[in-house]
Amino acid sequence: MPSLGADMESGTLLEWLVRPGDTVHRGDPVAVVDTDKAAIEVESFSDGVVGDLLVQPGTRVAVGTPMARIESGAAPAAAPARASAVPGSAVPVVASPPVRHHAAELGVDLTRVVGTGRNGRVRREDVDAVARAAASAASPRPEAGPVPAEPPATAVTATGAHRRRVTPYARRLAARLGVDLDALETGDGPVTAEVVRARAAATPTREPAPPPPPETETEIATTPAERHTEPATHGPGRAAIGALMSRSKREVPHYCVATTVDLAAVTAWLRRTNRERPVAERIVPTAAVLRATALALHRTPELNGFWVDGAFRPAAGVHLGVAVSVRDGALVAPAIHDAADRSLPEVMDALRDMVRRARNGRLTRAEMADPTFTVTDLGDQGVEEVIGVIYPPQVALLGVGRVVERPWAVDGLLGVRPVVRLTLSGDHRVTDGATGARFLNLVDELLQEPEEL
């Protein structure tokens, strides 16, 4: 495990990009490591053939721990392991949500389905074919075992025939741009984002899809599901989040306080002012909540900073991390820098720009580094309350639910108001519930006067 930063003591292996028997050269990417801040590709230090892989994906090891043996010796003429890779690994499966549900109902593992739709997209019929094949073969389902066995006959994937080495970014980009990784000619080198972009630029996109089969009228577009190496079917982002959240739950004594905030003033004000704004500059309620949060943090510095070496270090500025789910199922929380010093339209611009780039995999290193507080807004997912887990070494997190209309008493009269549930998770080593309560009340007050935001 190499040291990928001065403060790095250990790292979590997210995935291997090579297999035993692969020939590697100095500088080739061989693994992806999560440093708690970012997923970073690790390169081989020498030429040779990959021997034993000593560390399993998902494992956290100290800096300096050997991760794999690279045997320098005569390299075999070809890298045989690449031809016998586990089917379906490392190739993103693209299937629409209805097809995913259909596959789940039939117990079909999407990673072993060959998509016949455009760009290899999995169609309902492809799932059915695999299900039929599995049923006619009297053998147990291949997905029953922890490590996939031979796939059913009709499900033999062309994709499994030669495993491509693909950088995680390139894989996300390919899924996003609808580029078929297997159709790329890159010789022996890894598939990089450049190759994917070049391919996407060269391919005419968005041409009409082939005529749909009649029974798929509910089939809809996809959130590309990234399927991965065994044993889990989760992307590397999952492992990174898992490692960080485990650490948080292990080390951080959380407290949670919550309040319901009346958003009538904000929504009325936004509706009025948005009418004057071009569509591209319209402000969504989330931006107002972010802006109010930044201002409240500015006045509650004990929630804005880091727990380092057994002590709290307040941060100089308010860098608001915003949890963004990327379409492959990963989660990133890039920062809006100096959010307390930006106007509401500026915060909205920053938010829009950041989410777009997060989903294109084009965040900058600076944005990924060191948010001082995180906001996680799951309102678009339809939940009313989010009791979040703090991102260490930060010391607090705000969960934002959906804006819902509720009966609400104002001045002794009952009315229907748009309200939102705000939940603060705080680190008890730094603050108490009283601080969290003060912070939430500040946010509430600020949201009652949106023109001041």
């Binding site: 629409s96 949500p97 809809i220 509706r271 948005n274």
Partner: protein, 82 residues
């Protein structure tokens, strides 16, 4: 001015293409909820509205959002605006 369902469908497809893989618009039912079907969050939705407004050449205010819910309701909305 009449607007056909298939015209609306094309508009939706063009507008969504920059946000999500939009080919499946072709196979979407006329009455499917667009926002839910394509899993659009609020920021995606603003972008969709922006592109739709440009492509259709009509102004779309926030009050109009409920009328954009499906291909059918959107077709009626566009017919009323042109």
């Amino acid at each position: 001015v009449s607007v056909t369902l298939s015209e609306t469908r094309e508009l939706v497809k063009t507008s969504l293409a920059h946000i999500v893989p939009a080919d499946e618009v072709d196979t979407l039912s006329d009455d499917a909820d667009l926002r839910r079907a394509f899993e659009l969050d609020s920021l995606d939705y603003v972008e969709f509205v922006e592109r739709l407004s440009q492509a259709a050449g009509v102004r779309i205010d926030e009050e109009d959002y409920p009328e954009l819910r499906t291909i059918t309701t959107l077709t009626a909305f566009l017919a009323g605006r042109r």
